[in-house]
Amino acid sequence: MARQSNSYIHILRIVLAVVGAAVMLFVYLNHSEKLNTPLMDFFTDDFLAQTGADNAVAAIYLNYRVFDTLFEALMLMVSVMEVINVSWANKHSDRYQLEEDDMYYKNNSELVARMVGIVYPFVILLGLYIIANGHVSPGGGFQGGAILATALISRYLVYPNFDLDLHIIEKMEKILFLFIVLTPVLYVFMQIQPDNTVISHQVYMVFMNTLIGLKVFFGLSIIFYRFVFYEGADNTFIDR
């Protein structure tokens, strides 16, 4: 009896998904209309002179719509805080740092280690390049920070260390967030600018991109190391 009703619910779910897709597609295909794009016209009109960025996307998320960036950085910080604090391993994390050390050396393939060792500096270079040139080419703080975090992960494959103090990184991330909030508030909203020229705007852009890149890098590396601690926690606690 219960199994039968379960199968009814299963069929109902499939029907719901299919009908939902059909209705959405039907409505979309029959009632699509071409809208005007006033925002796009405004943003792409004269963004080099107004914001100092050659890349319209960077101009939008660092100057025209800087609130987006602020709240996005806040969201990332909240998720990092959740990952760190809503976890039972938090109380025991000191213990794993001692036990992990020689466990991972055995499992390392030398092929992977050597190849990653060759690629690793180039990945860091690419990340820094993308951060520094975010305002003139595709890229920016988020992307560069994510690539730097990937470099950290590849470093972990070569040299699996646990000597990073996550609390210090977390504090640094919060301080960086303070600066990320402070800089646009002073520069964009309150217009405290040394000079209203393209050069001054570009300095602001590079500075903001660097801050965001470092913050995203710290946040994602905290998340990654947290996950690794969970993984190590499994090995020690399964014997309990």
Partner: protein, 187 residues
């Protein structure tokens, strides 16, 4: 044309990732899906988003899923065939359809554990003594021996449902692990 190909690829890979029964496979499909997604963004004149998707979707989230997968309980099966000099794809493919796939499906759907299968040509008794597998399939000629722990609930379920898992296999012997060590000494 390129647009159409990449979009159809996206839908197909998304279906693979959602409908696949093996978690590890669907994680890899999700990585490939992110890569195709990055290509699509590049085609749609959004290079910034493409870089973000390539770095975050392909690199970071795949690693995070892989780490999280270690938490899902794994059922470790070892396939032993002493008569094969070296395992290649033909040998694995020949046994794939007959019982590896049905076994995986059974473990995945009924028992809800993640199957993991390894192959070896070491002697079965050595494998039994030295390595710690949940279940060992030993093929000797036409006979297939299935070794496992009698107290293991999943192994009991496999034995109970063996007829439905492997319908066309005739010569199957089930050996519980305690008997094996005695038998090995007797021989």
């Amino acid at each position: 044309m390129f647009e159409t190909i990449i979009l159809i690829t996206l839908v197909v890979i998304a279906c693979f990732a959602v409908f696949s029964d093996n978690l590890l496979r669907s994680i890899i499909y999700l990585g490939v899906f992110s890569l195709a997604m990055a290509l699509a963004y590049l085609h749609y004149n959004a290079p910034d988003v493409a870089i973000a998707e390539a770095a975050i979707g392909v690199g970071l989230s795949t690693v995070m899923y892989l780490v999280a997968l270690k938490k899902v309980s794994v059922y470790d099966i070892c396939y032993v065939n002493e008569n094969i000099e070296q395992f290649n794809d033909d040998h694995i493919g020949s046994i794939m359809d007959s019982f590896v796939r049905p076994m995986e499906l059974f473990l995945e759907r009924t028992e809800e554990v993640e199957p993991q299968i390894s192959y070896t040509n070491h002697p079965a008794l050595e494998v039994l003594a030295d390595e710690n597998h949940d279940c060992i399939l030993h093929r000797d000629g036409d006979l297939i021996y299935i070794y496992g722990d009698a107290n293991d609930r999943i192994f009991q379920d496999i034995i109970a449902n063996l007829n439905t898992i492997i319908p066309d296999m005739k010569d199957v012997r089930v050996v519980f692990k305690k008997e094996v060590s005695l038998n090995g000494q007797a021989e």
